[in-house]
Amino acid sequence: MSLIQSGFIYWFFVVLLMIGMYGAVGKDNLVKKLIGLSIFQTAIILFYVSIGFKNGPATIPILQGGHGEPIKDIAAASYFNPVPHVLMLTAIVVGVATVGVALAVIQRLYAEYGTLEENEILDKIANS
């Protein structure tokens, strides 16, 4: 537990980010590039959500007892930071939409050139 608390968990996000970066830059296949970008995005989403975590008696940012009497005396230390959650909530949905657009572009490229390898597409463009 002390290893996790000391910042070890951030290494995990960095490694994920490296994998995504290598996939997006190093691979030739466009779908593999897109998978790399998605892994990159996942690393950043995990990082943001982890920022919102608080040790101690904190819980998710939904106030307890919200159905009954009016809630009084809300302590900031007893709920996770809601701001990263809000930012990542929209980022996930927008991520799905942008992956959809990227797949549409990839389909058009395949219909046009008959291949998804980046170097082969560049060769066909240069020869045409």
Partner: protein, 263 residues
């Protein structure tokens, strides 16, 4: 090229690993993201203020919903616009050149239709039974988003997924005859228009853009209640846009813009 990418990724990773040494401890309640600068007074930080004041100002226990659709509703409006733009972009990239225009150009060059899939009664019955509860759950997630995890984006994805289930379990054409393109495409824009319309209504009634308290002139509710209802209104707009865009992305991607055969 691949080796260069590998070296570059590892160098970036090492740089970031070095940077993590300066990060606050994981889960520290007094980290700068959660409590602001240690020298400033704690109440000044936006996160602390949201947690302690949001319920008193909006009567929404789910702080994520309160921040998403009230304090940061401008941000959410443009996020919804991004989703709408993605749906429109896919229509322009796939559907228009490969589907609509190509069909007009040459009817003879249409790709031959695949042989019809074998119908599976168990699968179809399962989809038939699952479809209404999924849609009901989507509406529950939308309307109960003030009190439990949920809200417009999640509800939209669930509603879109219910139609995708129909398209997978039965076939794409049958689903499109129930929810045709001429219905769901306008809905992608209608959700955004509804959201912006709420903002303009607040503006017309004398408040700021998306300041729900201006709506009190029409609906006599307390300041907190009207903000709670305003959150529900804009979340409805978000749901309509996200749900129809998710379905539009699926139908166009899976049929390569032709809308003839699905998966």
């Amino acid at each position: 090229m691949k080796r260069l990418a590998l070296v570059m990724s590892i160098l970036l990773g090492l740089l970031l690993l070095k940077g993590t040494a300066d990060f606050p401890q994981f889960g520290d309640p007094n980290s700068p993201a959660s409590a602001g600068h240690p020298n400033s007074s704690e109440d000044s930080h936006v996160s602390v203020r949201y947690i302690t004041e949001a319920y008193g100002e909006t009567h929404v226990p789910n702080l994520v919903s309160a921040i998403l659709a009230d304090y940061r509703n401008f941000d959410t409006m443009f996020e919804t616009t991004v989703v709408f733009t993605a749906g429109t972009a896919i229509f322009l990239i796939l559907r228009l050149p490969l589907g609509v225009l190509a069909r007009r150009r040459s009817k003879a060059e249409m790709p031959r239709t695949l042989p019809p899939l074998a119908r599976d009664p168990i699968l179809e019955m399962a989809c038939r039974v699952l479809f209404p509860p999924i849609q009901l759950f989507g509406l529950y997630v939308l309307t109960h988003g003030h009190y439990s995890p949920g809200g417009g984006f999640q509800a939209g994805v669930i509603l879109g997924a219910s139609f995708i289930l129909l398209a997978i379990g039965f076939d794409l054409r049958g689903t499109l005859s129930r929810l045709p393109e001429s219905v769901y495409n306008p809905f992608t824009a209608l959700g955004v228009a509804f959201y912006i319309g709420i903002g303009l209504l607040c503006l017309v009634l004398g408040g700021n853009f998306l300041d729900y308290e201006a709506l009190r002139q029409v609906v006599p509710l307390s300041s907190q209640e009207i903000r709670s209802q305003g959150i529900l209104l804009v979340e409805c707009g978000v749901t309509v846009t996200v749900g129809s865009v998710i379905f539009a992305i699926y139908t166009n991607l899976v049929s390569r813009g032709l809308h003839r055969e699905g998966l």
